[in-house]
Amino acid sequence: MSKISIKEPSVVIREKRLGTINAFTGTASQIVEKSAKGELKDCKRKFSQCLGCNQQQAFCQLAMIRDAAVINHAPIGCAGEFADFNFTYRVEQARRGLPSQLGRYFCTNLLEKDTVFGASRKLEETIRLAYDRVHPNAIFVTTSCASGIIGEDIEAVVDAASEELGIPVVTCNCEGFRSKIWTTGFDAAYHTVLRGIVKPSEKKSNKINIINFWGSHVFDDVIRRFGYEPRYVIPFSTVEELSHISDAAASIHICPSLSTYMGAGLNQLHGVPEVLVPPAYGVAGTDRWLRAFGKLVGKEELAEEIIREGHEKYVPEIEKLKERFKGKKAYVTAGAAHGQALITLLGELGMDVVGAAVFHHDPVYDSGDDKLDILGQAVKNYGDVPDYRVCNKQACELVNALNRIRPDLILARHGGMTLWGAKFGIPSLLIGDEQFGIGYKGALNYARRIDDTLDSIEFIKNYSKHASNPYTKWWLEQDPGYFQGDGSGRGCAAGNGGF
């Protein structure tokens, strides 16, 4: 179990905390087994493509707190995401019936002279400017490669500002180079909130923390039926609401790649128990999740009732659609835990998951046990995935694998990857809302969308005839894992322990 300490301003990076890796070639059962034995090793690559960084993952969690402002202490390029998250923020406000608001994000706009003469003053000024313009209830300061390397005492600046303004001004150390695992950025944001916002609570409430992105509110009915109130964190919370999340009756994970640091933090620091089973994907997975939740809140009979109802209402149609998916080969590409959740869903729908390119792999989570292990459960319930690779979002590895495997369907979760299915004429589906697939209804949601996707092949087939392909013939003839490891072409990450 990783010990969560909020004394230090920086979170301990995932590769150190969890032994996270970003390269593996093998089967799903192998990675499950090696994770359990602690045998997975880190691998470098001799060729790599643009990834994503801590800072973006941290920002996505901090940028939609409704009454906070975020300052990125960085050159202007690191603020490219501001507009993108503002778009999401506003679209999701509308879906939640919230008033229209702009995301209030500021960049200190570090220039060359600031890297030489120091940038603390600039940060001080930006904090004041943000305060004057927005009057937020908290200000978060995210760091960048540039501000990290200059290495000034940002803590001193924010502490002084906090004192001066009378609101929490908190740093989030998330320099892009800090961790090779971009999801460390989530942990950095949670660390920041645990450290600077969350207060101890005197008494417990009937609230359940759902630690999520900005997905649909699928938990409302079920949580209320158990007699509790759902509380979705962090996006769309207020600073005040966040300060009380320590009073929850429990925390729920929708994606362990996202949230186990927050779950463990609230557990260790404030005694909030976690629902420690894989998220409710697929019929079997939803049964298991409901039983676990029912047990935690002491309402096991009610859980059985909800399970019965769910089966009656949704399973017949799922079964009907499953008939149409028989014998279809599917491929998954997504972040770690969500990719594994998609494997679960596809297995549930009777498809043959022939391969997966997931972005990283956490051998354990912050709870320290394997209770959240989605992949282990998926392998047990639906069988092995013969080509399971950890690809670190390297499009070249995905393209290469797809070219060999040529599945009937691709399920993706990130931009820049889905399009490769279409280029090869393979129906591809990207669903951004993690909660879309949760529960019995979620399984049906996916079944319907997959059915639509398999049906709508005209565009894909036509486009694939005209699509450009920047990859060389040479590359497509190598093994997809060629660059994992020493670049000898032998893919030293095979089975991630060498040959």
Binding site: F47, C53, A79, E81, A83, I149, K180
Partner: protein, 443 residues
């Protein structure tokens, strides 16, 4: 300006990687942190292109590279980029990490240049400048390290011009605008190296850059360094037309300026202008009844939050071709002080008939610009307003019940393929787009 920025509308020096993506089979290689490519794509990368976005090779700097240097990693990634990605031109661009740790990128890339590989490097660092400025450094680097080396001929080809104008991807309509500029310049008899986008031949075109009879820079300031550099290097004279020409009046002025500068056959130029103007104004004439008689209100006053070239181009067009009066013009491209006077001068000449005092604000902190805009708009509650801006401005447009035409990045509320507003056809397209937005608001 060097202060904090709310609502950025450009990116850092590394953003010039998108200019590489805009060259046919150009492959940018980032020697940078892992998130840089995504950050750039998010603000100026609608659509991946050939080898942009997630395809772009990158060294993805990690802690050990920052401590021990990343030269070896760069060498590996460059070597394998040639093997994996099929490109005509590879450009290594360095980010903050490599700039601060001081990797010797020249030496690493130099090894490949010695083998005559088509590769160029630009030492940037995100903090060095914004992408308006770095675009020029990138183009100069390609000229100095690639064109100069691989072009065989130096003999001037009569009528050949290099055109430098809208910055790829920073101008969301770059492709369409460049197509339109090429179309009209070809119309007056020139052979045009447009260099970026669909209408370019790619690197073979770049190799004829030294053979141009003259160069054209159509824009306010970002890119001027390129034509100055070419004058020094190859002695090629250049014409500076200080904004994007939109619609008939300005495009004709642009073509006349080019014709005069290049000593083109005046009759040929005028014949082309006459033909294009007739077409353009026949449409205006056809629609004049709508523009003058529509009962329910069309915009009467516009604000702009855009770069200098766009703001000037649209202001001249709106005033003279549509009768929409310019309100405050917010120039958000962080234009260096030395160029600001020339922009004010152009705005002062916006009307041929009277002196117009157009208020211009130079400030990339668009959060503050918006505050000023909202304040000013209070005096014009009787008028339907038009905002020329970016997706950042959707909320103030909603608040003011103003029409919004997105002409600047970030672009999230429209999709751009070959739309361009430059030239005669671009002017008509602009009119269609504005009234499309206006009319769509009615029940």
């Amino acid at each position: 300006m060097s202060g904090a920025i709310e609502q950025p509308r450009f990116t850092c020096a590394l953003g010039s990687c998108q200019s590489v993506v805009a060259i046919k089979k150009g492959v940018p290689i980032l020697h940078s942190g892992p998130g840089c490519g995504v950050q750039i794509s998010r603000i100026i990368g609608q659509g991946e292109g050939y080898a942009g976005g997630s395809t772009m090779p990158c060294t993805n700097a990690e802690e050990s590279d920052v401590v021990f240097g990343g030269e070896k990693k760069l060498r590996d990634v460059v070597e394998n980029s040639f093997k994996v990605i099929d490109g005509d031109l590879y450009v290594v661009i360095t980010g903050c990490t490599a700039a601060i740790t001081g990797d010797d990128v020249a030496a690493v890339v130099g090894e490949f240049q010695e083998e005559d590989k088509p590769i160029v490097y630009v030492e940037e660092g995100g903090f060095k400048s914004n992408n308006y400025v770095s675009h020029s450094r990138l183009v100069k680097a390609i000229i100095d390290q690639y064109v100069d080396k691989f072009s065989e001929d130096r003999e001037v080809i009569p009528g050949l011009v290099n055109v430098f104008a809208n910055i790829p991807y920073q101008d969301p309509f770059w492709n369409g605008n460049l197509e339109q500029l090429k179309r009209v310049l070809t119309g007056i008899g020139l052979k045009v190296n447009i260099l970026f986008g669909n209408e370019s031949e790619g690197v073979s075109e770049w190799k004829t850059i030294p053979q141009a009879e003259f160069n054209i820079f159509a824009g306010s300031w970002a890119g001027l360094d390129i034509v100055k550099h070419l004058k020094r290097k190859y002695g090629t004279p250049y014409l500076h037309f200080p904004y994007t020409p939109i619609g008939a009046k300005e495009t004709s002025a642009f073509l006349r300026a080019v014709g005069e500068f290049g000593g083109l056959d005046k009759e040929k130029v005028e014949t082309y202008i006459d033909r294009e103007e007739k077409k353009f104004y026949s449409h205006i004439d056809k629609m004049a009844s709508f523009m003058l008689e529509f009962r329910y209100g069309i915009p009467r006053r516009f604000y702009t939050l855009a770069d200098a070239s766009t703001a000037l181009g649209f202001s001249k067009f709106f005033l003279n071709e549509l009768g929409i009066i310019p309100g405050i013009q917010f120039i958000v491209d962080d234009i260096p002080e030395k160029y600001q006077e020339s922009v004010l001068e152009e705005f002062s000449k916006i009307s041929d008939l009277q002196t117009r005092d157009v208020k211009v604000v130079f400030d990339p902190d668009a959060g503050l610009d918006q505050q000023k805009l909202l304040e000013d708009a209070k005096d014009y509650e009787d008028k339907r307003l038009l905002i020329l801006g970016s997706s950042w401005d959707k909320h103030i447009a909603d608040e003011l019940h103003a029409d919004l035409l997105i002409v600047s990045v970030p672009v999230q509320h429209r999709l751009v393929m070959n739309c361009g507003y430059a030239g005669y056809e671009g002017g008509l397209r602009a009119i269609e787009d504005i009234y499309d937005r206006v009319l769509a608001t009615y029940r």
